[in-house]
Amino acid sequence: MILGRLKGVNAFRLPTGGEIDRRRALSFSFDGKSYTGFQGDTLASALLANGVTLVGRSFKYHRPRGIFTAGPEEPNALVELRQGARREPNTRATMAELFHGLEATSQNRWPSLAFDAMEVNDLAGRFLVAGFYYKTFMGFPGWHFYEQRIRAAAGMGRGTVEPDPDRYERMSAHCDVLIVGGGPSGLAAALTAGRSGARVILVEETDGLGGRLRSERETIAGRPAMDWVARTRQELDSLPEVQTLTRTTAFGYYDDNMIGAVERVADHMPVPPDHVPRQRLWHIRARRVVLATGAIERHIAFPDNDRPGVMLASAVRSYINRFAVRPGRRAVVVANNDDGYRTALDLAAAGVEVMRVVDTRPAGTSDWRVRCEAAGIDIQDGAAVTKVHGRLAVIGCDIAPLDGSDRPRFEPCDLIAVSGGWSPAVHLHTHALGAIEWSEGRAAFVPGAARQAHASVGAARGTYGLASSIAEGFEAGAAAAEAAGFPTASRPEVPATDEPGQRPIRAIWATGDGKKRFVDLQDDVTVDDIALAHREGFVSVEHLKRYTTLGMGTDQGKTSNIIGHALMAEARGEPIPQVGTTRFRPPYTPVAMGAFAGGDRGRHHAPVRRSAMHDWHAANGAVFVEAGHWLRPQYYLAEGTPDGKAAMDAAITGEVRAVRHAVGLVDVSTLGKIDIQGPDAAELLNRLYANGFKTLAVGKARYGLMLREDGIVHDDGTTSRLGEHHYLMTTTTAHAGDVMAQIEWYLQVVWPELDARACSVTDQWAAMALAGPKARDVLAAAIDDGTDVSDGALPFMGVTTARIAGVPVRIFRISFSGELSYEVNAPADWGTHVWEALMDAGEAHDIRPYGTEAMGIMRIEKGHVTHAELDGRVTLDDTGMGRMASSKKWFVGRGMLDKPAFTDPDRPKLVGLVPVDGRTRIPAGAILVEDPAAAVPMGKLGHVSSSAYLSPTVGHPIALGFVSGGLERKGQTVWAVFPLRKLAVEVTITDPVFVDPQGDRLRG
């Protein structure tokens, strides 16, 4: 490690230039050592400035790895950023902006980065070839044994076990023109689109605009190109309808021109400012999209081309020009295109000794080459790197002619800059189903026909010239605005640039042989692995990918896929376009799960639904339980009673007793309520419900059951006739939504001829059930408009209106508990007022509020079914209510009722269950069988659907269940078995109604 010795002193920082702010030094640490960098650095540039070149270990062979790129395509320099709850594994050092106090740790090594025991994998590398694991680990002691070790070795960084402390936010945006990419072509597009007055959004992944211009010594109109960028930004900022989002990555192109983008609001800070989200996930719906995403450089696979010090040529220029860092002191440049010369010139200008430019192409000339020669730089044509010296860092390389005409010659160097040409970033174009075509001249896939409303410009389209990129940008921006309906003025004229003529690329993918030649550096896929995959028949690029894991790393093969595919094409002896490329998928670069979740986290994961009496419940000892989105009182604890099993049982028993012997009040606001009006309302109900509704009189309520079209019971509830053409339907809490949707379906689509209208009034009415022998007295006492609620005036299933404490209410005499009971509906904002009035009126009778538990017990005592019974598989007959089905009319689901399975006499049907010993609880979820000792797999008779562990009314445990044959078996005993808890209870089959079968109480 030549460079290693100079750590910590910015020894590789250039005295001038770059985008860094030398006045703002930032201290940071890597593997516990502290260093300083400057504002404007990335972690990668700051490390290089400090001479740190060894930063990571590779996935499989744990080979030492350095910094390979200067952008999002980085395969090697992955670190754990931050600590504790904010630890972010696999963070690309090349994208992590430096901030004061940044802490980074190398990953996937033990015990240390410089000495990693797992590097033995590299020595064993000859055995650990692609797919080796499919061929072994099958024998003793079994895969599980080996897997534990493989799992421990695999993976890269460590996640955290602490909850993510940061906020995330979703942003929704609409625009006429979205431009992805803030390089010259994107800026040019934004300019012409913006000037038209169209709504324009420009998103740029990095922290600033300019794209490659930030990294090149280009000029525009005779001045540094970045001046043009600054002027352009100024104008864009002055246009009211143009929004520029930096640090924002368009990660996916979805249907109907919706682009997903993630804005890193606070990742460049130690922690986000208070209340500010760490990241925002943008939904951008654009009329037109301009893709100016640039191009990604690729390398050439030569032996040991993964050593720290081997770097993409474009990255070398970035570190020099953008970050003012010398990535080395002596460089060899190897390229198959003119960027080699461009890079050599930049190196020389930065004071790096350029040992040689190795051009894999045969001799030839170009402006770039002439400039190099003029600068006195050694150039070797038709040659390649055949060997790299050094393990933890490059100390030199061997160079030999490709035609083997001469022996390899050693060249000392600590930096090898490599350019294998460019691949346009067509990712988003293909997400949108755009086609790609092979361009022989560029040796790259370029965008073909678009399927959605987008166009690619600049390097993303394979246009590598600056002037031409700007020209394309101007044109595409204007065209997009026009297509969106915003006329534009004539195109601005393209500023003058100084662009030396280039000589075309000559594709070459791999050179040399012997040692490991890496195609995919992150997943350790070598040239030999490609050959092996071919040999074994994994010749489709998709098979190649899955067999070798080519391009399956965090970088998704941005620098490597094309090399592997080209090598496979060579092996197959077919042209590259015929072999094709693997499918691009979102996200373009990895996106944090938290960003996708946005604000839908913790309590806000799903909206909470609260009843109008919620605060009263909370203030009066309610223990809440979730029911769908609702929070419902499960039971009420007397003041000061700590919660717990015993306290809960006592509370529930007390609540049941209160209702059975005196009076109780329960919040039933969660039941769905649907207001139905119109001349055909009765006909609608008659078709929806299995039982008849035509004969229901005004002022009366009726219980109804509705089926699905497939004949299975859907929902039940009471519907009341409030007026000649006016009904109020109630549904169960669980089905409120889908019953409403069903009614809209039948009215709008199936029976549009019916003159009826329906709307949900669930939220309008707070609903409470006053139940118990004393219910009438309490109600009468609470009513203040003298409405008569005597049995004569308001009989069972009667409906009336009244006023309670000044509030106009609806009163329904219906019963779920089986007691004399009144359901009172009050306008929601007055719900608590009415509730309190009833509680006051009930004080004389020791009224108690009761919750879902007590309600559940009482409905079981009455044999009422709920969703525990109506589980989407039972028929009317199964519930014992088959006779309710009207034979006089047609109703939804009737067409299915004669299916053999539905009429099978052995179907499990609803019954009551009591323990033979009168004591033992019958757990819900138990299975009913003849003989618990029978051999497994054993035959089943049915199951226990609901259970009241102790029925305060009956005095012993009871349960509801379904048993084959149903009440035919009344009196027989079967076993309720619960093998999960090793329980078996002998139970007697009884009638499902345990309390007041004649219903005297509720009619009382």
Partner: protein, 191 residues
């Protein structure tokens, strides 16, 4: 007939939440709870012309003699007004002869007014519709999803003032989201 107790004051679903919310001195967004009467009209589209009210076209809202009329769907509108116990009768009478279903929703939907320079920035974190002034002008209205809850958005006078009508049981949950998201701009709540 015995003499009746007067109508009690209404309990807003935002009461507890707002009481517990600290106000920012210079808020970017302000949430105001509005206690309104609301009546929903549901009418066969071919009979809607018989309704004696200036009913707005789809996607629009109009103010008319103290009332705010908002279109929800073909043949479906809501009429809202502050402290108007007579609103229901008034609307029912206006609908006379149209056979419209007239339904009281005054307590079913709670109204929150959102205003302030950052009102739009906050709303777009919860809804996908286009709120740009070009696309959603004063007196435009939309039924949409806001933080996964069905909401009616009504753009009022002013650069960024919106009335949100939401199912009462969900209203507090939405308000919680708005307050949490609004903190970065500064929030104030008024009852």
């Amino acid at each position: 007939m015995v003499d009746l107790a007067p109508l009690p004051p209404r309990l807003s679903p935002f009461a507890a939440l707002f009481a517990a919310t600290a106000n920012d001195p210079n808020p970017g967004v302000t949430l105001s709870a509005r206690s309104l009467d609301q009546v929903q009209i549901d009418c066969a589209t071919d009979r809607a012309d018989r309704i004696a009210l200036p009913l707005p076209a789809p996607g629009r809202a109009v103010s008319h003699d103290g009332m705010r009329l908002i279109s929800l769907a073909p043949g479906r509108w809501i009429v809202v007004k502050a402290d108007a116990p007579d609103l229901f009768d008034r609307v029912r009478d206006a609908c006379d002869g149209s056979a419209a279903a007239v339904v009281d929703q005054g307590h079913g939907r709670s109204c929150l007014r959102l205003s302030g320079p950052n009102a739009r920035d906050l709303l777009v974190t919860g809804t996908g519709i286009d709120l740009h002034p070009r696309a959603f002008a004063v007196d435009d209205a939309a039924s949409t999803a806001l933080f996964h809850v069905a909401a009616i958005l009504d753009r009022r006078q002013g650069s960024a003032t919106f009335d949100l009508h939401m199912a009462r049981s969900y209203a507090a949950a939405v308000a919680e989201r708005l307050i949490a998201g609004g903190r970065q701009y500064g929030v104030a709540v008024t009852s």
